[in-house]
Symmetry: C2
Subunit: 364 residues, 2 copies
DNA sequence: GATCACTCTGTAAACGTTTACAGTTTGCCG
DNA sequence: CGGCAAACTGTAAACGTTTACAGAGTGATC
């Protein structure tokens, strides 16, 4: 007999039901058959516990119903929340999700895009650490649709979703100004990255907008990490004890800064207001809880997934480039008004609770 | 011409190189050919940018080189560190990783196992929320190798890796006892889970082992979360102000408890020692940093991946069931010796720094 | 009862690869 | 230069599915 050891196939079912493999396929895909045929095929399939081979299906159908998400670091909470949202969009649609950690090496990023040519994945969501010319070249030839999370030159014919670090930073600085702070320090992450550069831009712009002169002595850059934040804050506070607030490039740094303040006997927010970035769980871990800029990681993931699916299932449409507006989660670390000189508009003291309310920010 | 619009295939290459598709395949897989043939095929492939179709390969080869990792929640740091380790093991071996979030619904877990029959994945690492009879049944029929991260009945013929919550908890309690604490409270997570139950077991056992009588009034259970921890700790400290230390079922609860202590003007570790569990970044977020039990999430992920790969590539071997021993990361939240009556051995005061040193625990 | 339209079914090809087998070439040796 | 072994090459089948096409069956209608 042809139906030997292995798992059942259409052929096994066909034999058992006494029909052809075409009928088996049709019944199983609901393409219409005589009731009698339907019954026999379904019974045979049920008895043998038949499950169609997905690989064969993919080969015939020309698509795998698999999507790939490639990002620098699985551990980073920002990417974790992207994964969660991507799942939320794609799982109900029956897509499987392949996870690829590039470990922040550019060549690995290029390889992921190139490997789309092996037809293993129907589409890709890519978070490049930095976009080089090589990226653009490879993206232009990509064998499958790609959505990039990050900034791309306008010329690139690739869908993308970007955060807005400039306005996100400005949002934080403006908030501190409204709370009456004037000597606003800035602990930045590595400055040689696009977001790092943009944060510096937003910081200076927002200060000037508020009529304040950016003071180079109030900015330090450091690698990311809680302890790095503590060290940087100590350095700042040592050199410039007059600082009344600090904005940090992520929540790790902010929490570290809060620790430093505590070590020095400074009270938050009375003596030092602290604002972080990412609105991760670490912001809630502060005591008091930290105000934090949410650059919309979750939203970016959701959007990217939707755009990719639209590319796959919808017809043709022009290249999309979306910018997710930053939001500010206001918490106790910036509560209270020290000086009211700044904001002549309606008082903002009612926003001083720790409830984590959120204010929309502007997008470019 | 047969080579039309689509991407190049072996046939396209064969035509261009003037050889048969068999030769193309052989050259590309290094199975030996005349130098002249090799040269022509390689040139043709390079010129056309040929990439073999992975789906067709999988169909012919009977394996996809894809593995699936299924867990309840992508956001949970414990699973995140598992993902990272699994990647670390499988990526160098050329496996792709499919991520499946079951959202903690049992039926979804069963479906993942069942869907192994579609041949889309070569193997599965499953983290079930709880193992039911239905799980065992489905696992017994699994079409591909499965490694379960979690506890399985001995009878199950499935590879598994388990944590040891009992000894992990005991490790924490013993540490507190050594530090001179006597009224050791316990904030547990949901008690109707296997780990929740095991923690309760370990807690009582370790107390008795130290000659202390477990006091039901010193244990509370709550859902997980920082704020839940704060509330639970307030309740405990209100009712029993004599408490001198608290062990919490995860770092969120521990951090919340630390906040509560701070609110009440208690100093850590002097007035209240705090120990958490999972050794996540939150433990470092405490001020002072929190001592925490590491149940070995990373190690479990690594082991599970290795076991799965061994099952796939190695020959047959008996079912393995590994238990990962817990470790204690000692930090400042348990520093200092208040009473020396407990540990008559060498003083342990040198472990009182915040350096996060790690002590091995016992495994069953 | 013959014709027709219609539905259902089976055969075979296709997706793109690898590989068993048989056939061809090559080089070597006597 | 003939014979032989070894190395290489091509044809065809196989993996398991879906589907175009043609053929067979069904029922309705005249």
């Amino acid at each position: 007999m042809t139906t030997s050891g292995g798992p059942p196939t259409v052929e096994t079912i066909a034999e058992r039901a006494g029909v052809s493999i075409a009928s088996v396929s049709r019944v199983l895909n609901g393409h219409g058959a005589r009731p009698n045929t339907v019954r026999r095929v379904e019974q045979a399939a049920a008895e043998l516990g038949y499950v169609p081979n997905g690989v064969a299906r993919s080969l015939k159908g020309g698509r795998t119903r698999q999507l790939t998400f490639a990002m620098p670091d699985v551990g980073n909470p920002a990417y974790v929340s992207m994964v969660r949202q991507i799942q939320a969009v794609t799982k109900p649609l029956g897509y499987r999700l392949l996870l690829h950690s590039t470990d922040a090496v550019a060549e690995d990023e290029l390889d992921v895009v190139r490997s789309l040519a092996d037809r293993t994945s129907d589409g890709l969501i890519l978070c490049p650490i930095r976009v080089t010319d090589a990226h653009l070249e490879v993206l232009a030839r990509a064998a499958r649709p790609v959505v990039v999370i990050g900034s791309l030159p306008d010329a690139a014919a690739v869908d993308s979703v970007r955060a807005d670090s400039v306005h996100g930073t400005a949002l934080a600085v403006r908030h501190l100004v409204e709370r009456g702070r004037r000597r606003i320090a800035f602990i930045n992450g590595p400055a040689d990255t696009v977001p790092g550069h943009n944060r510096a831009l937003g910081y200076r712009a927002a200060l000037r907008e508020a009529g304040l002169t950016p003071d180079p002595g109030l900015t330090v850059t450091t690698e990311f990490g809680i302890e790095a934040g503590t060290r940087a804050a100590h350095r700042l506070l040592q050199a410039r004890p007059d600082i009344d607030s600090v904005f940090c490039a992520n929540d790790q740094l902010a929490l570290g800064a809060a620790h430093a303040a505590h070590d020095r006997g400074l009270r938050i927010p009375d003596d030092l207001a602290v604002v972080g970035m990412d609105d991760s769980e670490l912001a809630m871990a502060g005591q008091p809880a930290l105000t934090s800029v949410d650059l919309g990681s979750a939203e970016r993931g959701r959007l990217a997934a939707q755009m990719l699916v639209a590319r796959l299932e919808g017809g043709d449409h022009p290249v999309r480039c979306e910018t997710v507006p930053p939001r500010l989660a206001v918490r106790a670390s910036t509560a209270g008004v020290r000086g009211a000189a700044a904001a002549p508009g309606p008082a903002t003291a009612d926003a001083a609770d720790a409830g984590g309310r959120v204010a929309a920010g502007s997008a470019s």
